[in-house]
Structure formats: structure tokens, C-alpha cells
């Protein structure tokens, strides 16, 4: 895998970019992504307040603020969406607007960040979003992984699965693409943040019907096509937290 310049936005597929912050001191990495489709930009899990300046800088390398039309938020945690009001301030300041695509259960919590955008509730919209070009993003319900109404997003065109917290990892030894030891990093993540194998397997089994060319998690490293099946199998057998020994 070619080494990427992580000081800049990194194109991971045609028109799709990693715009995260490479913090070498952190074991808990966050990965916002941008998808450009014509004059529409979709932002996936745009990140936290502390990372906002770095994410904004990279975002502006690959799109313009007025093109951001949809912000997909897999759940309400601050590491992935507390910066939304900062983006809203900039986007509305130039006359733009975006909707926040999330589950109804998450929307009632995200509002407490002080957001002003309209919500596009994935559960009320047939679990899909169709862009102006006709490109379809499919939302895959992932209950209790770890939020009760978490979900993943599958882009039918690129065949990328934006997996949110699922397939995430804990890694100081971070690389944009999963290295040979990523399975251990991924197990560590799921043991800490996912409740049980039973719950995880319920959702992972849904992926069998999708042709996946890449998994882009919100934490940890990107899983390329050649490794997708292997990591899916690893998660099917991951024990997760399961009551933490009680």
C-alpha cells in the first residue's frame, strides 16, 4: 500500500477522502471522510471540537463549504460529531445548509450540541439517501453497536462500507490502512466498546449480501478489499465485552 501524506486529505477511492488528524500521541484515532458526488458533498462523522481546525483545513482541500449537503452521523458521541455546530456556523454563514443524516434516536441527543440543521432520519427514509446524481447510500442498522440506534453506510457506487465504530481499532501504531497487527487492535476496540458477540454477529451477518471493496471505520485503520472477508470473520468470532466478567 502506497504511503500517504497524512498532513493532507488522502483520496482513498475516486472522489472519497480521509480528512482526519494524524496525532502520533493518540491511541484513539478518529476518521472523518468526505464523499464528493458532482456538486454534492457528503461528510461522514465529521469529528470533534479539538480536531475541527485540522479537519476543516483538509476538508477545504477537497471541497467547498457550500457543497456540503449531507452530514452522516452514525451516533451522537462527541468524538465524531461535536464539531457539527462549527461547520454549521461556517456553512450557514455563506448561505449554505446541510442536513444531518442519522437515526431518530440519535437525533434527539445530537440536538444537545446546539445544532440548527434539519435532520434526515434514516429510519424514516427507507434506510437510504439518494443523491442528486442518483447515487444511493444504503444505511445498515447496527443496533447496540454500541449505541442502540447505530448504523453503517454502504455506498453502492464505490462499494465502500463506512462502518462507524464497527471495525474500529485502538492503535498508537496507527496507519491509514490496516497493518499486519490490526486484528489485535480491532479486538481491543470491540472488547471495550461492543456489548457481546451475539449482538455483533447479528449485524455482521448482514454484510454477507454486500459486495464490499473497502471498509472505512470511524476509528482505527481502513481495511482494503483483499482483507475485507478476513476481518469480517474475525468480528464474527470476537467475544466483545459481555458484562465485563461479572
Amino acid at each position: 500500500m502506497k504511503k500517504s501524506d497524512l498532513t493532507k486529505a488522502v483520496e482513498i477511492a475516486d472522489g472519497i477522502y480521509w480528512v482526519g488528524f494524524d496525532d502520533p500521541t493518540a491511541g484513539f484515532r478518529c476518521n472523518p471522510y468526505i464523499l464528493n458526488d458532482g456538486d454534492e458533498t457528503v461528510f461522514f462523522d465529521p469529528g470533534s471540537v479539538p480536531h475541527f481546525p485540522m479537519v476543516l483545513e483538509k476538508t477545504l482541500q477537497v471541497t467547498t463549504l457550500n457543497k456540503i449537503k449531507h452530514v452522516v452521523v452514525t451516533h451522537q458521541d462527541p468524538d465524531l460529531c461535536s464539531a457539527i455546530p462549527r461547520f454549521e456556523e461556517l456553512v450557514t454563514g455563506i448561505g449554505g445548509a446541510f442536513d444531518i443524516c442519522t437515526h431518530t434516536r440519535a437525533s434527539v441527543l445530537i440536538a444537545y450540541y446546539g445544532t440548527i440543521s434539519n435532520f434526515y432520519r434514516v429510519d424514516a427514509n427507507d434506510w437510504k439517501l439518494t443523491l442528486k446524481s442518483g447515487r444511493t447510500l444504503r444505511f445498515i442498522f447496527a443496533p447496540f453497536l454500541h449505541f442502540p440506534a447505530a448504523f453503517m453506510t454502504y455506498d453502492e457506487k464505490s462499494k465502500i462500507l463506512f462502518s462507524g465504530d464497527i471495525f474500529g481499532g485502538l492503535s498508537f501504531d496507527w496507519s491509514l490502512y490496516a497493518n499486519e497487527h490490526y486484528a489485535e487492535a480491532m479486538k481491543a476496540w470491540h472488547e471495550n466498546y461492543m456489548p457481546s458477540n451475539h449482538i455483533l454477529r447479528h449485524t455482521i451477518n448482514k454484510l454477507d449480501k454486500f459486495e464490499i471493496d473497502m471498509i472505512a471505520p470511524q476509528h482505527g485503520s481502513i481495511i482494503p478489499k483483499k482483507d475485507v472477508k478476513n476481518y469480517i470473520e474475525i468480528l464474527k468470532n470476537c467475544e466483545c465485552g459481555e458484562f465485563y466478567f461479572e
Binding site: A26, G27, F28, G169, L170, S171, F172, D173, H181, Y182, A183, E184, A185, M186, K187, A188, E191, N192, E239, G241, Y244, F245
Partner: protein, 90 residues
């Protein structure tokens, strides 16, 4: 039946994925723990004290995330094998 040697090897293998092999090997070298490239310890007497010292070092050098990363796997193995855990892993 797992032993403390097995628990320490679980920590090592897990941290290869979290801290990276190079960092982990440096820590083990500093602690005079001899391992092969797969993270398996050479024969010796390993007790809860060595386990505690290793995890405490991870915490001191890299903080809570490094400990979180191995805590569940080690805790589960300890429970299943009736082994007591140092307080840092409870």
C-alpha cells in the same frame, strides 16, 4: 489451564497491535523480559507481580488506552482460569 505466563503473553500479543511491535519490544527489553518475535516468553517464573509491573509500565508510558486494550482479554482469561488480577486490571 492458563498461567500468569499466558496472561503476560496475551498482553504482549495485544499490544503488538496497539502500541506496535517495536514499542512493545523496547518495553519488554527494558524490563528484562525475553520474548521471541511472536511475543512468546522464554521459560521462567512469571507471577502476578510481573503481570502487574508490565501493565503498570504500559500505563505510565502510554496511559489508559494501552491498559484498556489488553484489560478485557486478560481479565476474561484470568476469570476462566481462577487467577487473581492486579488492581490495575480490575
Amino acid at each position: 489451564m492458563a498461567t500468569y505466563k499466558d496472561l503476560i503473553e496475551t498482553v504482549i500479543k495485544r499490544e503488538f497491535g496497539i502500541l506496535g511491535k517495536e514499542r512493545m519490544m523496547d518495553i519488554l527489553s527494558d524490563m528484562k523480559m525475553k520474548v521471541n518475535g511472536e511475543g512468546l516468553l522464554s521459560n521462567g517464573a512469571y507471577t502476578i507481580k510481573e503481570l502487574e509491573a508490565l501493565v503498570q509500565t504500559l500505563h505510565d508510558k502510554y496511559g489508559a488506552v494501552a491498559v484498556m486494550g489488553c484489560k478485557v482479554a486478560v481479565g476474561r482469561a484470568a476469570r476462566d482460569n481462577g487467577l487473581d488480577l492486579p488492581s490495575i486490571l480490575k
